[in-house]
Amino acid sequence: MRKFMTKALATVALLAMTAGAQAKETVVWWDFLSGGDGVRMKSLIDEFNKTNPDIEIQATTLEWGIPFYTKVQTSAAVGEGPDVMTYHLSRLPLGVDSGVLREITADELKAAGIEGANYAPANWKAAQVDGKQYAVPFDIHSIVLFYNKDALKKADLLGEDGKPKGFDGIENFDAALKKLKDAGSDYGMSFQTAGDGGVWRIFYSLFNQQGGDFYKDGKFLDGDNVDKAAKAAGAMAKWVSDGVVPKQTDYNPSIALFTSGKAPLLMNGVWEVPTMADLSKQGKLGFEWGAVQIPTLFDKPATWADSHAFAIPDRKGKEISPEKLKAVLTAIKWMNEHSISWANAGHIPAYIPVTETEAFKTMEPNATYSSLAATAVFDPTSKLAGVASPVYEASANNITTTVNGDMDPQAGAEGLRDELQALQE
């Protein structure tokens, strides 16, 4: 009898366990985070899955940029695709316009305990179109200047505080790049000179350092803004033609040039901070590194910035169920609350309570460059702008071409203006 009881109990327990397993809500998750970013996101997801036994995130990482957003768009249109995905806020107006994003209502947010007050007002608002919420911000990310302390020291460009000195002002910066090259490096600086992203971010920063308006009152690069654009593109083109910045270099090789010591400077996103940190920790970097805010080359400081957010695709004919929505929002909330380890990937968390912790305030190198937040400039708010948008493409066609010396700066700036204005009308 006793034996029978144990057996019965075991069966019941087993049934309970399977029942539990069945009740488990799976959340299909898509992101575009690779490299150091990807590693940190993966461990966040693993931790979430461990600490939330009733929800399981199944993550897929797809190629950043056009491939990712194309897949998102076509799958949403046919009722396929993930339950939740990462999304760039710069692209939100475009995403909403093409019907890819599902509104997250105030009630749904409230029920999940996600409060707008926990985010910087501008950041929270950037996740809205016409007052409707379409995403929840996760971070603010920007570009910084990575530098090789050893090489800078050799060229006498390293200050007492261990930061680069004499970089402000375009003439000084040009001279510094030349000095670095003369001191024995292959190049003065590296950045992604092939393709869209790398060029756009620097171009947009330099453009805004001149106080330009990229898009205003329905017009792109109106009036003398086109000249400011030409000046920004011209400065970048000069680096390439002077041979201090490598020509037509892809994303990964542009980083490899820095990590292998061939280029002592690298302008790239904060998301590469973990790459440097990890290599340095494994002793594979071969030099001391640091990261600072992009120097002010023109009239005032300004740095391009964007924001990663979480969004829910509007799957036509296959809407997300209330239960799944609840699980998704739980995951989003959890991710934000745990975004201190995301800060570890170089980003500035969007969730204010995390940025107010001592751990974040003293985190390096974030603390060194966090000053950029005050002068950060986001992509223009337009349904033509954002990652993998017409603005990125027009920049690749005109500004990237200019930077690589195949187009005159003024022609490049005007080409950019005309291409976008034609789409606007």
Binding site: E63, G65, I66, P67, Y69, T70, Q73, T74, A77, V78, S98, A194, G195, D196, Q248, T249, D250, Y251, N252, P253, A256, L257, S260, K316, E393, A396, N397, T400, T401, D406
Partner: protein, 290 residues
């Protein structure tokens, strides 16, 4: 008359699978595509009737014209080299015997059975700007490294080369089969007459292999007009306009920009180009005496 109608039924049973598939998966989509070209529909969903607006746009669309010429350029870079090299390699293989022949043939044919993604990975790695083995050669002979798939001047010829490397094996096989059909007696006889290698090729091999050459040219031409896969993969992340081709432009309009109507118009133009080219080529090749 009873048997006649029975025959019709039997035949219907034989042709039904193909005909049904043809109607549903070819004819219907084609008609629908033509219909779409007159609308401004998104990829999924309906749109308004816009008449010939999409067609007019085609002729003023710089990006489309660019894609058109790029496609032509790619065809130029691949079709004839792939055919002629195929013949040359076939003659080389044909001279060898036994396991040496099998080995050499395998070297030429093995790439053909690789999926395009594998071809992409291999060449992405070989030409890698930073670590690619071919960059040593470029450094030595050209003087500097080149990000070949990102560079306007290099990209198309390089992709054409990769395409030839990948697909030539099939052409080599077709040519070998053709060469084996040429009787050895003819060569022996001409050798007695003192003909050298070139004369043998010019007066025996070339005319007799012509039907195979024509076949390979036809297959190549139609195939290369539809170029997308390897080009898309190898140039991903670069300036896509350098190498934008027609199929890629269909993809861009319909799937990236969600413009189903205009995408269909680009598609229909490609469709018509292929039809015209096939008819022209058929006429030209038929003119040659077999």
């Amino acid at each position: 008359m009873h048997t006649k109608s029975r025959d019709n039924w039997v035949a219907a049973a034989f042709v039904a699978p193909f005909v049904i598939a043809y109607l549903v998966l070819f004819l219907y989509p084609t008609v629908r595509m033509i219909f779409l070209t007159f609308t401004d529909a998104p990829l999924i969903g309906t749109g308004g009737w816009v008449g010939f607006k999409n067609y007019l746009r085609l002729f003023n669309d710089k990006a489309y014209i660019n894609a058109f010429w790029n496609t032509g350029y790619f065809v130029l870079l691949t079709v004839i080299p792939n055919t002629l090299l195929g013949l040359v390699f076939a003659m080389m293989v044909n001279r060898q015997k036994g396991y040496v022949q099998s080995l050499i043939l395998a070297a030429f044919f093995l790439p053909y059975i690789l999926p395009v993604s594998v071809v992409f990975r291999i060449w992405e790695w070989i030409m890698d700007y930073q670590f690619g083995i071919a960059q040593y050669a470029l450094d030595a002979f050209y003087g500097e490294r080149v990000a070949v798939f990102r560079n306007k001047a290099w990209a198309m010829p390089m992709i054409a080369f990769v395409t030839i490397w990948w697909t030539i094996g099939f052409n080599v096989l077709l040519f070998i089969a053709g060469l084996r059909n040429i009787s050895q007696d003819m060569y022996d006889a001409s050798a007695l007459d003192g003909a050298n290698r070139w004369k043998q090729f010019r007066f025996i091999t070339w005319p007799l292999i012509w039907p195979v050459t024509a076949l390979v040219l036809t297959i190549q031409l139609i195939l290369q007009l539809k170029i997308f896969d390897q080009l898309y993969l190898l140039t991903l992340g670069g300036n896509v306009n350098n190498t934008m081709v027609l199929v890629q432009y269909i993809y861009k309009q319909a799937f990236q920009l969600n413009k189903g109507g205009y995408g269909a118009t680009v598609a229909f133009s490609l469709f018509m180009i292929i039809v015209v080219v096939s008819v022209l080529q058929y006429q030209v090749l038929r003119a040659k005496p077999r």
